[in-house]
């Protein structure tokens, strides 16, 4: 097991190099001069420009610049912006916000998605099953922009106005975990729908299996047949989905963070692309890739816990 983890982490290195190089190349291929973008309409002082170009290796070929970047990354240095601000200072607190948001979305998704999926599978073909499937279709169809503003209006503003309940903050992160409830729900929207359907299919398949029939033939009570014999086997595909979804949720948080004004990495990424702060863009993507790789490793290790047929040497 230990050797497997080490091997997987080593495998992550080429993945990390590949993805960062791709994003590095794309960002630096963007047309225009980053220094001119910094100065706006004014003329850039040629001496200043010359100094900056040398300081940031802007005159070197792409591959050499990438080499410098990677060298710095491995010493824990994400570089500095043209304004002289260390990129790591810009990151400060922002990854935490986005991670909190994604984790909240993941929790909401797991509870609601798995719950609805279980109900649908156990009431297969009845109206509650049909209803749940219809709801998932609606969730997939509603864009985040719509669901975000509607939830803000209904649960945040009107609920407070009509009943005085002030439980769902609509903006910022100053209310602790409650700040993430509404944005988490919005971000989880489509994933809830997919997870519901996946849970339903997975459990239905397990319920048809021979070993569930054996458990019934052993005289096990229905609750034990479902909760012990069927559930653990149905969980395996769900864990895969949830693990992969953490990365997707973090990368897809831009719109949600903007609607709810959360100072997270999504907003920062958007601003940085706009301002041509290339080192920040590449830095954010690098960390996201790292999180994605780690999430997938955890999923693979969870497999072995859930399914004894999978053993890592």
């Amino acid at each position: 097991m230990g050797r497997y983890v080490v091997r997987r982490l080593l495998q992550a290195i080429p993945v990390l190099l590949g993805t960062t190089f791709l994003i590095f190349a794309i960002v630096y291929a963007l047309p225009g001069d980053p220094l001119q973008a910094l100065a706006g309409d004014r003329r850039v002082d040629p001496v200043f420009a010359q100094t900056m170009r040398e300081l940031f290796h802007l005159n070197d070929p792409l591959i050499v610049r990438y080499g410098y970047y990677i060298r710095d990354i491995f010493t824990g240095d994400f570089g500095t912006t043209f304004r002289g601000l260390p990129v790591s200072t810009i990151f400060e607190g922002k990854f935490q916000v986005t991670l909190n948001l994604a984790l909240m979305a993941l929790i909401i998704e797991a509870i609601v998605g798995v719950g609805l999926g279980l109900i649908a599978a156990l009431r297969r073909g009845r109206w509650s099953d049909t209803g749940i499937l219809a709801v998932t279709l609606m969730l997939v169809s509603i864009p985040t922009l719509v669901s975000g503003f509607v939830l803000q209006l209904v649960l945040g503003v009107q609920l407070k106005k009509s009943t005085g309940i002030d439980f769902f903050p609509v903006t910022g992160v100053s209310d602790g975990w409650r700040s993430y409830l509404l944005p988490g729900a919005v971000l989880a929207g489509t994933s809830i729908a997919y997870l519901t359907r996946l849970t339903r299919t997975s459990l239905m398949e397990t319920l048809r299996s021979d070993y569930v029939r054996t458990a019934i033939a052993k005289g096990m009570p229905r609750r034990r047949v479902l909760g012990r014999h069927a559930l653990r086997n149905s969980l395996i595909p769900l864990v895969t989905y949830l693990g992969a979804d953490l990365g997707t949720l973090m990368g897809g948080a831009v719109i949600t963070e903007t609607i709810f004004n959360l100072p997270g990495i999504g907003q920062q990424l958007f601003t940085s692309v706009y301002l041509r702060e290339n080192s920040v863009v590449v830095g954010i993507v690098t960390v996201l890739v790292l999180i994605y790789i780690l999430a997938n490793l955890i999923v693979d290790l969870l497999y072995a816990v859930l399914d004894p047929r999978i053993r890592y040497e």
Partner: protein, 346 residues
């Protein structure tokens, strides 16, 4: 070892002696499908006494497994339906019991061994856990005592190094060993009736013999009744007391095992016996019963076997043959059983 814990037997035992232990009476099972109603079992009756082995013989789709699943109460209903019939266990009709009462009988008094042990055992729990579960749930035993019982049972079905292997998972065992675990699980609570649904089909021939021997031995030790479902005539000969041959959801022949081999009284049984490859026929074509098994959605009129039968006469297409009594222990559902017995083809 043999300690039939009477307190868990919910049903009165005083009816024993007169009535058989288990009696299936005029059982009908049908399945609602998109194409219509499939009549899988059409009036099957058989009875079984303690210590007796009944072999139910027939090809796929003959209704032999469905009958067994109806006895266990593990049919998916719907789509399955039992419109008619009784299944009496110790005099009580199981079909009239509540689901709760049936759960109490399943596994404890009537147990089942399935065909493919790899898929019938849960892949994510150790075999010890799965055997011990019987004692923990049904007998309220603690973990330690239940595992001790599990090891004892694994020893009894002759799994080598049971104490070490109790914490292994099903996929770590060979096919034969897995089936032994399945058997250990089913006999855990000393059931009165054991239903073995093609217990050796997934195994190779040498292992088949060992498993059959094990089943026969366990049965002798505990005097349980056994229903052995199979399509393999070779498996039956050594262990069964009597045979019920099924075709198209009906029993077509009932007989003590040796009579069937010597003098089959139904053309289908006869066909089955003639299709067994024999050493003295080396080089010749193998015999096969002509035609295909009946479509359950569209059964032939009259006798279900008539399209494939060498003895067919006009009334076979119009009249369903009743079970004719041949002797006290034998019966055949063929209008022309006398001709079949005499070997005269029509």
């Amino acid at each position: 070892m043999q300690n039939p814990s009477v307190d868990t037997h919910l049903l009165p035992a005083d009816t024993l002696g007169t009535a058989p232990l288990l009696a299936v009476d005029n059982l009908h099972v049908e399945f609602a499908t998109r194409q219509g109603v499939a009549r899988a079992v059409n009036g099957v009756s058989y009875a079984l006494n303690a210590g007796e082995t009944l072999a139910v013989l027939g090809e796929s789709g003959s209704g032999k497994s469905v009958t067994a699943q109806a006895i266990m109460g593990i049919l998916d209903m719907p789509p399955a339906r039992i419109p008619k019939g009784e299944i009496r266990f110790r005099g009580t009709d199981l079909l009239k019991l509540s689901e709760n009462a049936r759960t109490q009988i399943r596994g404890q008094q009537i147990a089942m061994v399935f065909q493919d042990a790899l898929s019938a055992l849960n892949p994510v729990f150790t075999v010890g856990w799965q055997i011990a579960e019987m004692f923990r749930v049904h007998r309220g035993m603690g973990k330690k005592a239940a595992y001790a019982k599990a090891i004892e049972l694994m020893d009894r079905v002759r799994i080598p190094a049971a104490r070490q292997r109790v914490h292994d998972y099903p996929h770590q065992f060979s096919g034969g060993m897995r089936q032994r675990i399945m058997i250990a699980m089913s006999i855990a609570l000393d059931p009165d009736v054991l239903i073995a649904d093609e217990p050796t089909t997934a195994l190779d021939v040498t292992v088949q013999a060992q498993i059959m021997e094990l089943l026969a031995e366990l049965q002798r030790e505990s005097n349980m009744a056994m229903i052995l479902i199979t399509h393999d005539l070779g498996v039956v000969a050594d262990v069964a007391d009597k045979i019920a041959v099924m075709y198209g959801g009906r029993i077509v022949e009932n007989a003590p095992v040796h009579d069937v081999y010597k003098t089959p009284a139904h053309p289908y049984t006869k066909g089955l016996l003639e299709s067994i490859p024999r050493v003295d026929q080396k080089g010749q074509d193998l015999y096969a019963i002509k035609g295909l098994p009946p479509n359950l959605l569209d059964m032939p009129t009259g006798c279900a076997f008539n399209p494939r039968c060498p003895y067919r006469q006009d009334n076979c297409v119009t009249d369903v043959p009743p079970l004719h009594e041949i002797s006290g222990t034998r019966s055949s559902a063929c209008h022309y059983w006398r001709e079949v017995l005499d070997g005269v083809e029509g």
